[in-house]
Symmetry: C2
Amino acid sequence: MKQQLVVWGILLLSTISVKAQQQQLNLAMGKLSLQFRLNDDGAPEYAVNYNQQPVVKPSAMGFILKEADSIFYKDFVVRGVDSLLKDEAWQPVWGEVRSIRNHYRQVTVHLQQKNYPFRLLDIEFRVFEDGVGFRYRFPQQSQLKYFIVTKELTAFRLTGDHKAFWIPGDYDSNEYLYNTTRISEIDNRKAVAAATDIAVRTAPDPFAVQTPLMLKTAEGLYINIHEAALLNYSSMQLHADRTSFALSASLVPDAVGNMAYLHAPASTPWRTILVSDKAADILNSKMVLNLNEPNVLPTTDWIKPMKFAGVWWEMQVGKSTWSISDRADTTSGDGDLIPNGRHGANTVNVKRYIDFASKNGIRGVLVEGWNTGWEDWFGNWKEEVFDFVTPYPDFDLKELNRYAASKGVELIMHHETSGSATNYDRRMDSAFRFMKAHGYQSVKTGYVGRIIPRGEAHDGQWMVNHFERMARKAASYQISFDAHEAMRPTGLHRTFPNWMASEAGRGNEYNAFSTGSPPEHETILPFTRLIGGPMDYTPGIFKMKGYCGYAPDRQMHTTLVKQLALYVTIYSPLQMVADFPEHYEAHDDAFQFIRDVPVDWDDTRVIAAEPGDYVAYARKEKGKENWFIGAVTDEEKRKMNAPLNFLEKGKQYLATVYADAPDADWKTNPESYVIKQYVVDQNTVLKLDLAPGGGAAVSIKPLTAPAPKTVSKYK
Amino acid sequence: MKQQLVVWGILLLSTISVKAQQQQLNLAMGKLSLQFRLNDDGAPEYAVNYNQQPVVKPSAMGFILKEADSIFYKDFVVRGVDSLLKDEAWQPVWGEVRSIRNHYRQVTVHLQQKNYPFRLLDIEFRVFEDGVGFRYRFPQQSQLKYFIVTKELTAFRLTGDHKAFWIPGDYDSNEYLYNTTRISEIDNRKAVAAATDIAVRTAPDPFAVQTPLMLKTAEGLYINIHEAALLNYSSMQLHADRTSFALSASLVPDAVGNMAYLHAPASTPWRTILVSDKAADILNSKMVLNLNEPNVLPTTDWIKPMKFAGVWWEMQVGKSTWSISDRADTTSGDGDLIPNGRHGANTVNVKRYIDFASKNGIRGVLVEGWNTGWEDWFGNWKEEVFDFVTPYPDFDLKELNRYAASKGVELIMHHETSGSATNYDRRMDSAFRFMKAHGYQSVKTGYVGRIIPRGEAHDGQWMVNHFERMARKAASYQISFDAHEAMRPTGLHRTFPNWMASEAGRGNEYNAFSTGSPPEHETILPFTRLIGGPMDYTPGIFKMKGYCGYAPDRQMHTTLVKQLALYVTIYSPLQMVADFPEHYEAHDDAFQFIRDVPVDWDDTRVIAAEPGDYVAYARKEKGKENWFIGAVTDEEKRKMNAPLNFLEKGKQYLATVYADAPDADWKTNPESYVIKQYVVDQNTVLKLDLAPGGGAAVSIKPLTAPAPKTVSKYK
């Protein structure tokens, strides 16, 4: 349904030059509405209301361009307006739900500057039931062909000094702890200075924060600001005006200080604002995904969600090393590196992980440190480190792939680039050919360190384009990938479903090599990092204390049960089973939940949610009748009711509840848990007791035979 | 022969700390000598004498490094001294002579800083009979591993206000006209501002010039300063102090302002100073080549010097276009580009060049504009322009390569990168595979426009490394190349003989698309640009006026005969036969010289030379008894004697003399020439008359039968 909005169009065109400020477009869906107008200067402005109350006050739009005549934010008139109502459903290749409704009203405002050279600019607005999105489009025109964006002026003028869950506006890292402050208190300097565990920090503006930015108003309204479909543009930071509570776009510059190089016809990413009076609606929203383009891959049957084990945590905790050798400049008489005897990716050790994965139905085994380069890879801004095709001599690549295949397991390739994206770009083809020749179907990539091309940033346009190249080229080889130290996710996994997960946030690993992340961390991630897409958080650590050889007092900031719950609360089609096989064997009863929990879902329900405090989900396994619940809390213990009203009416199920024991506490007693089984049905309301820093995990499967005598009905 | 210089060594080590300034190393070869010392600050200094007279006064050496403790130019003591006398000969794969003598004395001074962290620095000096070279070496050491050069302090303190032949110290182009001024008058601002015909100009220092820098003293001494073996480092500019006449190294910075990223063990390029009281010695010098590493390619039999015709000059003069279409944004209903009807690289036209080449024994035919991208390639700093594998629809690549092969001709591939080296890097493998699949053995590359990675420069370290990658990768496919808009040559064709030529200077093409280069230009190039290596100058234009459709008053700045002479005076193993077939057919008698002249030589003699005025060479064809003479003059007419004493004693030869006619003049009557044949021998002295802007070309072949009656003995 596409039609001219005749009335508005005529009104605007006939009167805009006289009293532009009095004319405005209004676009509504449910409780949300969006207003657009040109102000007295012919400058576009938008505003957002929820339940007739302002959420975003009239806010600036437009650009400063590089060219001498650079004003592209005012002196506009409206040439026309198109509108569209869309209501469709689509099925993701993998995801949290089987089918996604995409329901919105759209208005495209066609603007033209009234002065020479009469440049054209379109703004496309979409209003959904749970939020609004808008983007700029630069139509094909002789007046604007190639151009450089110096500044994007998009602002978000908020209505008060909301509570904000933020990380510093860093161009190179999103692996920060979350700060919870009022907007008026945003100042990232301490956070940046303290984050010495982050390899590269570039945060020149003390008052800039990253998106997804989660906000909560004094009236209890939840607001989330992010972007969708970040392609061929740089990432958006938000600069906070601490007195007016206005946020404004601040793009990540390139090596010479430009923000984006565009060629009309072109469009920016979508700027997104989710709004609801229920926190759960933020988590349930599919708006960011909907604003991305549909899948562009011709086939997707080769894309396989999976759990994977791997040679990884043992390096994080100092048990073994990525490199075969401690130093690159110490070699034997033959010029070979002198082995340190602690190399993780050796054939015998990898077979141990393959055996473990095979025994427990885990599809993948990741091996990091398999290839040459690790002996001298970090921190030197060195362009040529890894070639991605040369194994260390103690890693028998052919034999291991043969062995893994014989055990029904596949090895996952690892490509650390050390931030040298140019080197990776040049070697991608040979690396992917090598993978396919040896049976690898997927790869985990890493970008630790300063980016090369030097002067470019992890979240700048050049790297955004690198990741698009990666997604397309990997797909051409039918390779899936999981990118660490990646650009921030914006729902591109709809368009490129082989881009299965990213790190792009502070993962579980920080509990190994740093002092860790506090218990609230996992209650904030779903409202922030995960709004953009799946996170490879690497959950499942079972040895909660004393695991770190070089820092024996280090400990996880969760209970063991909370680690189970993360498989449900932190959505990803790739989930690592991150701990050592022997640590799982020591808690085989709890490990059953990890064996059972799937990574692809038909349905998802948010049971409870409050950013910084708790989240709880129930999810239904793809193609099966099994449900899984995960609930996590912050440092506070918490009671939670989980009504099982999503179960099929009249049907009985066996629920296995993995609960923190009454004496459990993340700090003092994290490995204390109880596992109980009950018969449950649609009317059951599970009462979950979460310890401080704890959680709950429940698997629910249809009863296909009478329950054992020892299992009673849940009361 | 490698030995400890015991006396110097002991003297230095025992007394250096007390009276460092009084101790110095002296290294002599023939008339040249070099002195080295540490001054009172423990700072290294060198000086150069010629015939006991100073050429370079004691001058600074060393570096400022990026790290906090960045002083790497003083506080040194001498740890030891090694010396070496080398006298060897080597045979280039192709070149000006069959065999090259490499004869030098070397001293390596091992320095160490006397303060923590006691870093090591070696300086290697070589003194030849015609010049000196030195380079810095950073030995493997725990005190200095990865490091960044912020500044190189190498200076050349000259002894007076010499005459200098210079072009501006531009990071991105060396296609400037030469300026001839005193050192005290060096100021590149006017030259840079005037050079609007150069696409990218980056010359921030008004007093910086490029190397090779040719100098002449008031006493008639010729001095040439350049560098050799520029690998993994940025190009050196020279900043001129106009009052003290000191030149100092000024490296080309990268995107973030750093000069070089190094990893010890490492070395800088050689800094070279040629000195002689004869201009010819500068042209004869093989020192720059000798300072490069020997050939690293395992086989070289696939590397073929050749002449080539091509679809190229017709685009330069506006007869046809590189692109099939005038505009990228004008397409037919099918989305195809709308042909402009003037596309040069169409199948019919290319066959015409193939026929011409075949008929005249010209091995290669270059075709530019064969591939998609040209419709929108220039000036937009766009990363993805060309894919190097997609022909325009009117270029039948398979048929043309079949046709060329059937005629004994090979097509030369063309890869314009539009400066996007990242894009070329990523596509090199597929481009080279495509070439080999279709019968191409060599490629001409181009880098017109600002470099991508953005912020990098044509002559910076990143591009230097790009060209090394190019040379190695092309060699791995047995592909030879000729790079336009390339980094400045420094003799790397010894190490990578498949890198056969570069443009890297102001070629003949400027007489088409600009107001051209004055007649003196070709008398300066051998003393400047060509010191670094072969230049693809594209000589051989026969239509001297009225050739440029869009600028009918444009004309060549030479006579026709001078165009012939350039095949001898501008050395390259690749020489274009640049004009249209029909223009050669109009002067088929003169064209005989081009048919005859080879591109590979057994011997070379400089007959006469004075920078800015004239040069004349005689060269002996590789593996044959034929000699060829080329002489060129500036805007002055000139008489020149060419003694043929290089001919074999007692043998008679047939000389064909292509001379400017008495009424010839580059400006008014450039196509006026006379061709005469004589019998000559070892005792003959040819008297050559060069018109203003003119030249002379002579082919000399052994008389195998009695000379025709019409040919008399030369008197």
